[in-house]
């Protein structure tokens, strides 16, 4: 049931390759190279080796006994927050950096919202001796100053993007503009299951490890699949990663979007950043700005495979408000001693709100990142109220 797109890069009606002509040959080359690498035993074993020895895979699963008792469910976390660099993003960037080297590229560019993908890209570039430039919306540079410094510490160049809404979508535009000019030497290390074919497929394949591991771990520990699998969705990479392991099970798949950035919930099919997918837009097709407490989910679009899963009714995409997220963020810290990334607090916020509708069920939540990066922002929001 997991879709492998054909040459047209489609997941149902969604996906495709809507890029400037300059980039078409590069996308085609990437498609060929990824396909060859993915079926090449030596590439796969090298990737597995760095994932294990550098990133710390497999990540564990943790049962939240306190929260579970409180909510009347069994709540299990997939701990992507424990990976090197503190989020799931490392799975994809190690794959793409290895691929970039295999293609003879010496430079990568990346976009980043919260800074997690930027930090992961800078890390992989440092490890593999690649030059790295990260584009980040000026608004995000301000609210994620710590991650900006981290990237610079790792040797990456960070450029603040002042165009448009000055957030993630504009960082993607600027990274694409860079790539149009530098395509011969540079690989665009896209950070989510979005963009032109083959990115949505390739990035999902690099993140499948989350779902594949979790499925085995769940069966091993509990002897059954989870009833519900929950993850937050901006572009949707951590969600596609964990969904991949459960698409062919009976589990409900829930992708939680922020109320102010609900591409599936409030959007219509549209085309931007190289893909056809659900997109928040006005009556003339101008892309609207997303608004969310978490920079990582401030994206008006969504990966095309999510649009596909929504269109066939296989996955659901509810929303939560910033207030629910702030409450969930604190709840997890106090109940479990885990400070989640604000992005993942969206997933928990939905679980908390809806838990009385699935009492006694087993819920697997992807804890895709740790919340250290969000502590300063939360300190501003909560002040002395805690």
């Amino acid at each position: 049931m997991l879709v492998t797109p054909g040459a047209d890069g489609r997941f149902g009606d969604f996906g495709g390759r809507f890029v400037p002509e300059t980039l078409v040959p590069a996308c085609q080359e990437l498609e060929r190279e990824f396909s060859a690498a993915w079926s090449d035993e030596s590439f796969r074993s090298e990737l597995s080796r760095v994932l294990a020895e550098y990133a710390g895979r497999p990540s564990i699963i943790t049962e939240c006994e306190n929260l579970g008792r409180q909510l009347g469910i069994r709540l299990v976390l997939k701990r992507e927050d424990l990976n090197h660099t503190g989020s799931h993003k490392i799975n994809n960037v190690l794959g793409q950096a290895l691929l970039a080297k295999r293609m003879g590229k010496r430079r990568i560019v990346a976009e980043t919202g919260a800074g997690q993908h930027g930090v992961a890209s800078a890390t992989a570039a440092a490890l593999m001796g690649l030059e790295c430039k990260v584009y980040m919306g000026a608004v995000d540079v301000e609210r994620q100053a710590l991650n900006v410094f981290r990237m610079r510490l790792l040797g990456a160049e960070v450029e603040a993007v002042h165009s448009g809404s000055r957030t993630l979508k504009d960082a993607v535009n600027e990274a694409m503009r860079d790539w149009v000019a530098s395509v011969e030497s540079t690989h665009y290390c896209l950070g989510s299951v979005m963009g032109p074919h083959p990115y949505p497929y390739m990035v999902r394949q690099f993140h499948r490890v989350i779902g594949d591991e979790a499925r085995e771990q769940m069966r091993h520990r509990y002897d059954h699949d989870p009833d519900i699998v929950v993850a937050c969705v901006g572009g949707g990479s951590n969600a596609m990663g964990i969904f991949s392991g459960f698409v062919d099970t009976d589990a409900r798949l829930i992708g939680v979007e922020p109320a102010g950035g609900a591409a599936v919930g409030r959007g219509q099919p549209g085309v931007v950043h190289g893909m056809k997918s659900y997109l928040m837009q006005d009556e003339y097709g101008q892309v609207q700005e997303a608004h969310s407490i978490s920079a990582g989910l401030d994206y008006p679009g969504v990966g095309p495979e999510h649009s596909y899963l929504a269109s066939i009714g296989r996955a659901e995409y509810p929303t939560v408000t910033d207030d629910e997220v702030i409450a969930a963020f604190q709840l997890m810290a106090r109940s479990e001693g885990i400070i989640p990334a604000l992005e993942c607090a969206h997933a928990l916020a939905w679980i908390v709100r809806e838990s009385n509708t699935f009492t006694g069920k087993t819920v697997l939540m992807n804890l895709s990142g740790r919340g250290d990066k969000d502590v300063a922002q939360m300190m501003d929001i909560l002040g002395n109220s805690i």
């Binding site: 809507f18 002509e21 300059t22 448009g164 085309v271 931007v272």
Partner: protein, 265 residues
């Protein structure tokens, strides 16, 4: 109605006279854009490319991004721009440049029809490559709208004939690896790609992106059938208004006519 005559016949006629095409680009909805279009027409433009501003213009550099932003902030929409084009009285063909979501969101048929109603004879959609262009091209063909295809320096040899075969009006030969904007010198890729295209197609070939002044226009036209000038025009529109653009277009026209005076003169 603005268009007089179809785009491709006009470009072919110019070519057979031994002259070169000059296509200025103006961002629709930006301050004084209508007067700027008129100034271009009055000072020797062969055709005029009118941009429909989009929130996420990935093929555009800072100057055209700024003009698009100004246009959007002033409330410009495709509908308002078409409305103004319809009443525009210029005697040169108008081609629109827009990003694909503008077309997709309106619907292919509806968008093609609104172009015809506005007197527009062609469309350039920079994020709609050959493989994705089928549904739009069908609608455009049905309505007699010429779809200009872009060819880029990165294209392998076997791709160019397929692009040229699908192009109507002209082939937009992208002058360099990069987004729109002025450059100090004309990139080598501008003439090499134009030459590769000229070798395989009879459709007029115009060079755009990075053709920044009169001298570069002449240089590109040594190989190509003419040029498109965007950022150089839009920067002058933002800084000096329609008059400054008129002077610039006249200068480029003169330089082209001096070097390529045509058989009759």
């Amino acid at each position: 109605m603005s268009s007089s005559g179809q785009l491709e016949p006009r470009l072919r006629a110019l070519r057979s006279e031994g002259r070169k095409a000059l296509v200025p680009y103006v961002t629709g909805g930006a301050p004084q854009w209508v007067e700027t279009v008129q100034a271009c027409a009055a000072h020797g433009a062969t055709a005029i490319e009118v941009g429909i501003p989009f929130s996420d213009p990935v093929m555009d550099g800072p100057v055209i991004q700024e003009a698009s932003q100004l246009a959007l902030e002033s409330g410009a929409t495709p509908v308002s721009i078409f409305e103004q084009l319809r009443t525009l009285d210029v005697q040169v063909p108008i081609v629109v440049m827009c990003y694909y979501n503008t077309v997709f969101h309106a619907g292919h048929e509806r968008f093609a029809k609104s172009l015809v109603d506005a007197g527009v004879c062609g469309a350039i959609i920079p994020d709609l490559p050959l493989e994705e262009s089928g549904p739009w091209c069908d609608a455009a063909d049905n309505h007699g709208v010429a779809t200009v295809m872009l060819a880029a320096p990165t294209a392998p040899d076997d791709r160019l004939p397929r692009i040229a075969a699908r192009a109507r009006g002209f082939v937009y030969s992208v002058g360099l690896l990069g987004v729109t904007g002025e450059r100090q010198t004309l990139a080598d890729t501008a003439t090499t790609l134009a030459a590769r295209l000229k070798a395989i197609t009879d459709v007029p070939v115009l060079v755009g992106v990075g053709v920044s002044n009169a001298q570069q226009a002449v240089q590109a036209s040594e190989v190509a059938d003419g040029v498109i000038q965007g950022a150089a025009v839009v920067r002058r529109m933002l800084e000096g208004g329609p008059e400054a653009v008129g002077e610039f277009v006249a200068d480029v026209r003169q330089a082209l006519d001096q070097r390529f005076p045509g058989i009759k003169s």
